[in-house]
Symmetry: C2
Subunit: 282 residues, 2 copies
């Protein structure tokens, strides 16, 4: 691979490539390798440990679908927690709702510094009085604080490197404990086409923790496998019980897309199959 | 690019790569360059003029979504026409329904020869008495024959090379004329993320020809941009009026996926916007 190009393997023998007009930033932080490149089509691309996290051109596909399903189905979302999300894309979407406070707990201050400098949506969000950024490990933060949240959004990287602890059962137990009554958590769950087994394990971890654990899908052009997977977790809220209109001027999300996202193809229904359980609706 | 790898550009500066374990076939036919490679993850990959048409591992995503929406909403699909589709993937899906006859009109005999040899699903379909393969230009075939069809499926390659004529307005007028009463046509329409302008033009071509022209989406892992686009064309059939259960043992398609596929994200609704028209429901 020449320096003129970045590539991410999706399988061991295939993947995506981006021609690199310029490398704007490259640093090995204490947590991961952070890189920002400029590609003529996608604009600025953030890679962590070589995996594409976000690009200027297609970030809205992912961030709108991670944030708005929980926000429009909660009865009154006021206190919001984002775990991870250092690039600021999730924060921007949360701030489109009339919330009281959003805390973003990001483990790696270098990611935030990079986003401030290279991704245009973070700075305006930071100037919003409702936004509070904390530098901490998401799991440790939840263990130490007893605060409750209406909505928790897990915008993690893949279950390698600093995000390993965010993909374990006891992390989901912690989230459940920190949800206020009627609370909802949503998390990104990876690429169903490539990571079926990981999804199956995650579902088994979640199915005894939450009354409702529904997986949903949406495409992200620069993520592996066409569709990306998310999970909607709650004890009592039906993800189809829409409480309010979404914010105006979204590029991807609307209420038809919301409902459509919960339809799962046969191959994925099969992967997620498990013995009948009265409280699980996957 | 070494001979050890195939790559397809999705934009001018990004795309997908496949490591090539072996090149099984390579020939410049009178119509296009045909190539079959073997990739460790996707298995056999068919490329026409360098563009991925189908792979063993993910062909079901595309072929099931091209075929079954029309087949389950037609009141009684007996005479079926496939235009293109030389790899045989669409034919296999059509034959899962209790039809009388399916004609497949493929322009390039070399594609059929290659599929017979390298793609395992074509041969059993050819042995089915209901299947008839014709070697002809799809548009010329429709011009010469007056036969009518219940369902017409356009499984073309991109609007370059031999498929150019299959992406024009007069081709859609021909299809409409060859549909029996209550007939339905579905066609692949490309990558909405990359080809928004082409989609807009196609929609303008179709909106005066058919009473109902609804675009729908589904992801294909090896196609550009996450989601792929299809169009459902009819004068009177509502794509939500399901007439029968889909065939058993499908890997992707089910009736929830069918309905979900017609939900369009905001950016695509915007691209497809046009002055109000009483008969168009896009």
């Amino acid at each position: 691979m020449s320096e003129k190009e970045k590539r991410e393997y999706h399988s061991r023998s295939s993947g995506i490539f981006f021609e690199t007009k310029r490398t704007l930033f490259k640093k090995k932080s204490p947590f991961q390798e952070i890189e920002v490149i400029e590609n003529p089509y996608f604009g600025r691309v953030l890679l962590l440990d070589g995996l594409v996290q976000t690009t200027e051109k297609d970030e809205f596909f992912y961030h709108e679908m991670l944030i708005h399903p929980a926000m429009v189905t909660h009865h009154e979302p006021r206190q919001i927690l984002i775990i991870g999300g250092g690039d600021g894309g999730a924060l921007k979407q949360v701030l489109r709702h009339p919330i009281e406070e959003v805390r973003m707990v990001e483990i790696d201050p270098d990611v935030i510094a990079v986003a401030k400098k290279y991704f245009p949506w973070l700075l305006p969000s930071l100037e919003d009085d409702r936004a509070n950024i904390l530098i901490a490990d998401g799991k440790e933060f939840l263990e130490k604080s007893r605060d409750k949240y209406d909505v928790v959004l897990v915008d993690s990287s893949e279950p390698v490197g600093p995000s390993v602890s965010l993909h374990k059962r006891n992390f989901y137990e912690l989230i459940k404990d920190r949800l206020a009554p009627g609370g909802i958590a949503c998390a990104q769950m990876g690429a169903p086409f490539y990571q079926g087994e990981a999804l199956k394990r995650a579902k088994n971890d979640m199915k005894d923790v939450f009354g409702i654990a529904r997986f949903y899908l949406s495409p992200v052009p620069t993520y592996p496998g066409g569709n990306w997977c998310y999970v909607y977790l709650s004890d009592q809220v039906d993800p189809f019980d829409i409480k309010r209109e979404p914010p105006p001027d979204l590029q991807y999300y609307n209420l038809e897309i919301h409902k459509a996202a919960f339809a799962l193809p046969n191959y994925l229904q099969k992967i997620l199959a498990n013995p009948p359980h009265p409280n699980i609706k996957v």
